[in-house]
């Protein structure tokens, strides 16, 4: 028990961060982390030797995927735009806050599988092999998704995506 506390507790903030970046809704992200911790506690003895960090991220990621699936089946949108300013960058200066919010909004436009790879590797510092384990995909797929995610995010940041809805807005604003 003590061992579990020592190994799992320091990772909770990172699990929260991953869940929130994936779901964009602080309340449901925390629910997901709680679910993940409960599972981790009940399955602690069944875990295979190895990396506690990638084991926890695997549990969390699978719960998130289930939630995405259920949301899709119900025909409801996953709440993506419900963030308010207070959710991110509390102490940062205003301009920086806007920049942060902007990049997160752009990140949210990426397909869910690309977003997951980018977050696990670039933010949560998982090795490519661990990310492959968490996502249950070959390492080659991790690399190709990572590459696509970075290209796509850059296009979003530079505003060079072929998004027809954007063109409409631009045309309208010309009037």
């Amino acid at each position: 028990m003590n061992d579990m506390l020592l190994q799992v507790e320091p990772l909770i903030p990172a699990l929260r961060r991953y869940a929130r970046a994936l779901l964009r809704n602080p309340a449901s992200a925390d629910d997901l982390v709680q679910d993940c911790l409960e599972r981790a506690v009940s399955r602690w003895d069944q875990r295979r030797e190895g990396n506690t960090r990638s084991w926890l991220f695997t549990i969390l990621h699978n719960l998130a995927v289930n939630q995405f699936r259920q949301a899709a089946a119900r025909g409801r949108h996953v709440t993506i735009d419900e963030t308010n300013e207070a959710d991110f960058g509390q102490d940062a200066v205003q301009e920086q806050k806007l920049m942060y919010r902007d990049v997160l909004n752009k990140l949210a436009k990426l397909p869910e599988d690309q977003r997951a790879v980018l977050l696990l590797v670039a933010v949560e510092d998982l090795s490519y092999a661990d990310a492959a384990k968490v996502l249950n995909i070959p390492i080659g797929t991790v690399m190709s998704r990572l590459s696509r995610a970075r290209e796509r995010l850059q296009q979003e940041i530079e505003g060079t995506t072929d998004d027809p809805s954007k063109n409409v807005v631009k045309l309208r604003s010309l009037k």
């Binding site: 982390v33 119900r74 949108h77």
Partner: protein, 256 residues
Amino acid sequence: MSNRPITEDDLHAYVDQLLEPERRAEVAAYLEAHPEVARRVSVFSDQRELLRSALAPIADEPLPPELNLSRIIESRKMRPSRIWWAVAAMLLLSVGSLGGWVARGSMQVSPSGLAALAQEATDSFNVYAPDRVRPVEVRASDGAQLVQWLSNRLHQPIKAPDLTTAGYRLMGGRLIATSHGPAAMFMYDDDRGDRLVVLTRPMAVDQNAPMTPQSKGEVSGFVWADGGMGYSLVGQSAVESLRPIANEVRKQARTI
């Protein structure tokens, strides 16, 4: 220096700082000689830094009590083991089925009044709200026809509540069959794809009843009756966030 060619994977691993020092030096040398590639790599590095800084504050927030690991462990210990739950459930089941057999017939009470209306609204929500193809039978574009038809079938003047001030627009409606006769259902949605259902029908029991919160599964809302008509508003939002909308529905219904 090795002669291994630099790969795309090397470039990403360079950005993610996952290369062995020797390989890292080789990639760095390559980038120095190839400014075009170096620019792309530095764009990816900036992007990585930006994402990390944008998300860092989340990990600094104090943990809410639900995420207190010691508490989660503690509450698990206090929970009786699953086997005992299973035994208890089996016992209850056998007592229940025996009792049910004895009491059969006399126990078949279906809900009436507000409880029945609440159930009908929840059932309608569960059946129709997830429907992507035809959630409503008559669309809001034929609103006048819809209201006329429902009023005729219910033998009561009905109006579709206007919930635009609450951010919900009318999608349309349909007639619902209940064991207490026909009911009128209106469905609404907001820009995020959240849906609401308003169900109304004449009431035999509970002709006037105050607004009461209701909740079953993921569906919750309010139910009330005014002057012989029962109303229920349900959705998947938190019940308290639906209260002002229910008040609005009640206010508009009183002006029919």
